[in-house]
Amino acid sequence: MNQFLFGAMPYILLTIAVVGTIWRFTTNRYSWSSQSSQFLENKTLFFGSFPWHYGILTVLFFHILGFFIPSAILGWNAEPVRLYIFEIGGLSFGFLALFGLLMLIYRRLTNVRVKSVTSGWDVLVLIILIIQVVTGLGNALLYRWGSNWYAAAAVPWMWSVLSMSPEVGRVGNLPLITKAHIFNALIFFAFIPFSRLAHFVVINPYKYLWRPYQVVRWYSREPRTANIVQYK
């Protein structure tokens, strides 16, 4: 079972994510959107979208950091005080995200206008996200110290998967809730191309910071869509 979930499924789900993303981007870029519904309702959204995004992005940032430099996390955590700060910090951002997510779900269930633009995919996405946040928080609360484990057990497993020789043993014996968290994360990846989660794979907003304000496209000049710098 472990072999299947953490040895074979990662490849299937990650392939779906990569191939699906490329497929959707090349065949139907029009559908690539964050599907914002702020236009229809913007009061509850404020209490949902802000906490959710800032909470989850912070947590995600440290996951990514740990993925690339696990030693940084382990080194920081060597000192108990720093470990407490790190864990409590992570936990509070996790709760911030949970609060935001619950607001978003509440909004989607109660507002008729928002309901009318809700697709089945949106519901699935919300289910996946709530599972992910709850298992993550459960992990942090029930089994100390998640950040250490993550860096010591899960990250080597991830790298082993990427290097095509999955060491299932590294995660096979973790508690159920942790395994759920890891497996659900894989499902999350596989969902990216098939839902509004696609907006999560965006490269363009970051360009905004260094592009000139104005964009001009010429049809008669090459390259056709060059940005012409007018002023900064």
Partner: protein
């Protein structure tokens, strides 16, 4: 000099009868889809009034347009440390108008009129929301809800352009026999310094180099909604069903083939003029930073004289074709805005350098003057021009709307229009007196030839004179296959490959 061409529309406000033919023809061509029902790429507002969306001119609320801060030009939306702040608001935009600021799109349950069971009462068609499909208790707002409500304490007195008017002028709004109103038809201004383009994190909006039309790339838009907030004219609209923003496309599939835009073509009052302008793109930033008093003059400066041999030479160097140069030389936009100086941009103080121009309305003056002199207006009266100050529509109000508060520019335009009237009346009826006409013309700095030309264009203008739109050379530039134009009716006007009409979420 970086010379570029710009298509521009002008509006003769005196002649607009508020019939909304333009809005309806635009809607029928482009925005009859689900998610777009509430959009009016072309809309006509009664002024004084609150407009559509409600009080769109109030930038304290919407933070659209630009401001000059510390000598540099900055989007108003980005109060704080520049672009970072903008991205920080990507998850929730504090200044975004919502559907309630426009109106909830509705239809009526007409079937009930046929299917209602027999009874004592006449069946009625109840309003139904086009968003939720549920019955609405009542319709509370529409795209022209304050139509003709010149004296309304609810709409007219909340017009943001009333700022700076004296109490007695504001009183005009409520006195039944003195109140005034006129119409303001609006489309996207296809600005030289578009705030919508500058605000888009995805870079989906762009200005076309060849004709200056500002478009929104549907494949790149990710629904960040910044353009909606940043445009001070609220002309990009968010499609709540498909999750993409859309905007007025200046009917480019039509203009590329030399046809007039749907709104302009349909205009019953024949108030619209479409023409080409040449401008110097190197000077955009400098012009956009000019202080309010000199802003309109700076905008006139950046427009180049298409008959100047040096400009023609530069234009050829920049790859502008001969038929475009010829069109620029016959351009009604150039004549109205720059040569005769009678047309003015809408809210230049937003600093987007809007490229649509308006002739301020004149008619109410004559009425007022008539009342003051107790009968026929006296064309010999030297009071005539001073009467402009006493006219029904306060100059201040027009200046707030059309010249960044510069009253002299409004007076200049009104005097010119009046002088043309006197000049023509003297020709036709002969009761004004040559001396008075001469004086009026010289006071307005017009030659008899100018006056004849103005009259010719704004009163008699044929289709060909009102719309001087050069065809695009399709062998070198192609954006849309002309054979698919009809299929594109009801679409967003985008993407030569896509023929189906998308009306909702795909994922």
């Amino acid at each position: 000099m970086d010379i570029r061409a710009q298509l521009s529309m002008s509006f003769h406000m005196d002649k607009c009868i508020g019939c909304h033919t333009c809005s309806v023809s635009c809607k029928n061509v482009w925005t009859t889809r689900r998610g777009a029902e509430y959009k009016w790429w072309n809309n006509v507002e009664t002024r004084p009034g609150t407009g559509y969306p409600l009080t769109w001119e109030d930038q304290e609320r919407y933070r659209g347009g630009w401001e000059v801060s510390g000598g540099s030009l900055r989007l108003k939306l980005l109060k704080g440390p520049g672009k970072i702040r903008s991205l920080a608001n990507i998850f929730f935009q504090p200044n975004l108008p919502t559907v309630d600021d426009y109106y909830e799109p509705f239809t009526f349950d007409y079937q009930h009129l046929f299917n209602a069971p027999a009874g004592d009462d006449q069946p009625v068609a109840r309003p139904k929301s086009l968003i939720t499909g549920e019955f609405m208790e009542k319709v509370v707002l529409g795209p022209n809800w304050d139509d003709d409500m010149g004296g309304s304490p609810l709409y007219a007195s909340n017009d943001p352009n009333l700022k700076g008017l004296s109490e007695s002028q504001k009183e005009l709004l409520t006195k039944f026999h003195k109140l005034f109103f006129f119409y303001l038809p609006r489309i996207c201004n296809h600005c030289l310094n578009p705030a919508c383009v500058a605000s888009c994190p995805s870079g989906a909006l762009y200005k076309r180099g060849e004709d200056g039309i500002v478009l929104l790339d549907q494949d790149t838009c990710r629904a960040w909604r910044f353009c909606v907030s940043a445009c001070p004219f609220k002309k990009p609209y968010y499609n709540w069903a498909t999750g993409k923003s859309e905007k007025c496309i200046f009917c480019y599939p039509r203009t590329e083939t030399g046809q007039a835009n749907a709104c302009a073509h349909a205009c019953t009052g024949r108030i619209r003029f479409v023409g080409l302008l040449f401008y110097d793109a190197d000077r955009i930033e400098e012009v956009a930073k000019t202080p309010d008093e000199r802003l309109v003059d700076a905008m006139r400066d950046i427009i180049l004289d298409p008959c100047d041999p040096r400009v023609i030479e530069e234009a050829k160097k920049a790859g502008i074709e001969d038929n475009w140069i010829k069109a620029a030389q016959e351009s009604p936009a150039y004549n109205l805005f720059k040569k005769w100086r009678i047309a003015l941009p809408n809210h230049p103080e937003f600093r987007t350098l809007p490229m649509n121009f308006y002739l301020p309305p004149l008619s109410p003056i004559l009425h007022n003057a008539k009342a003051d002199t107790g009968g026929m207006f006296d064309p010999e009266s030297t009071e005539f021009f001073t009467a402009i100050d006493k006219m029904r529509v306060p100059v201040r109000f027009l200046a707030n709307m059309l010249s960044a508060g510069n009253e002299a520019l409004i007076l200049e335009s009104l005097k010119k229009q009046l002088a043309v009237r006197m000049f023509i009346r003297q020709q036709r009826v002969g009761d004004v007196g040559d001396a008075a006409v001469k004086q009026a013309l010289s006071a307005a700095a017009l030659t008899p030839k100018d006056a004849t030309d103005i009259y010719r264009l704004v009163s008699l203008g044929t289709f060909q004179e009102r719309f001087v739109i050069p065809e695009t050379h399709r062998e070198i530039k192609s954006t849309v296959d002309p054979r698919t134009i009809f299929e594109k009716r009801g679409s967003i006007g985008f993407g030569s490959k896509k023929t189906e009409i998308i009306t909702g979420r795909q994922w």
